[in-house]
Symmetry: C2
Subunit: 210 residues, 2 copies
């Protein structure tokens, strides 16, 4: 299981004051600029062209390895509480979710699976992170389960000792405030697995040493 | 002016509960393991041998560029308040401070400069970070002024818009708790200046874009 997430140099995965109009918070879109221009990102969204090179290879490689995705409720919708009171209950991604596998959303509120246009599904898991991982593993088969965020979900799997790898895509920006990736609490030794550098972002992948 | 500091993957420059015996806090020594075995570190401490390679070059290059160092009071001694009540008023480094230039210590408590065995000095600056920078620049000449830490000193210079570059040496460890490098408050755009990867540490250098 790998946590894979874009982060600012000062450790934030979203800026301050996220809203429905600005889900990544003030300045938070700068964390993802690097990916939006890549061929590996544009193709699955029906757009031609895009950059190739090391960043593109990192994204393609990650996608090929990934058999299921897990995320927290806040990453899915920004909301909390019962779904019928969540104005963003259908998630941020409209008709073009950037996910190519089933996505398991950790939530306290039960809900039927929601299909995406490509046939994969958002599945809502109410019995905790470990149950989410079990369900994700069942669909991932030989491939990896990827935790996409937010910080709280990553922290839960880290604290439970369930992560094998962490990959951070470090975007060259200081957000100054927002949602931290590492809120603290869980420590551990790492090994550097891979560093990929490009002019626009640095990809750092670590193995957790148990 | 460059901030140059070792940091954990989760953003800490020291572990929790620093003491006089364990100044870097629990686990904090893991942030600096990479440097202690380098030839560029051992030589100035009168020790032979040591590793060469990319990490060594980064340290040598940094030392050659540096004309003066600035640090906060806590990085110098771990203490606060009047010097006569600070049990570590002579600093952490005994007879072998790892500094090759004058070091300007930001403090609220006046004190005469303290010479190091090699002839360079600790100079105590009581009129604020900007005054510290002016004094450091005067001795650095054409070379760089380097802010070595801690987090609070880096944050002050960042917030004042006085930093030109930030270099973080990212050690492969999650400390889980401790002293953060980026406490938040000051944001800004960066450009990736240089990435040097080795099996033991990753050196990320950024330019601040004003």
């Amino acid at each position: 299981m790998i946590a894979d997430i874009s982060v600012s140099v000062d450790g934030f995965v979203a800026g301050p004051d996220p809203t429905l109009e600005d889900p990544l918070g003030r300045g938070g879109e700068q964390l993802h600029e690097w990916v939006l221009k890549l061929s590996a990102w544009r193709g699955p969204h029906g757009r031609e062209g895009g950059e190739t090179g090391p960043d593109d290879e990192v994204v393609r490689d990650g996608r090929e390895r990934t058999g299921a995705v897990i995320m927290g409720r806040r990453m899915y919708s920004g909301g909390s509480g019962p779904w019928e009171q969540d104005p963003n209950a259908e998630g941020w991604w409209g008709e073009e979710p950037p996910f190519h596998t089933d996505v398991f959303v950790l939530t306290h509120h039960a809900r039927e699976p929601k299909p995406m246009p490509a046939g994969n599904r958002f599945v809502f898991v109410t019995d905790g992170p470990e149950a989410g991982l079990e369900q994700a593993r069942a669909v991932a088969g030989e491939k990896d389960v990827l935790v996409a965020g937010g910080g709280e979900a990553v922290q839960q799997y880290l604290a439970a000792g369930l992560l094998d790898e962490i990959q951070v895509h470090v975007a060259p920006v200081l957000l100054g405030d927002g949602v931290r990736l590492f809120t603290g609490g869980a420590g551990g030794a790492l090994e550097i697995d891979r560093v990929v550098a490009s002019p626009g972002v640095t990809h750092l992948r670590y193995r957790l040493v148990s």
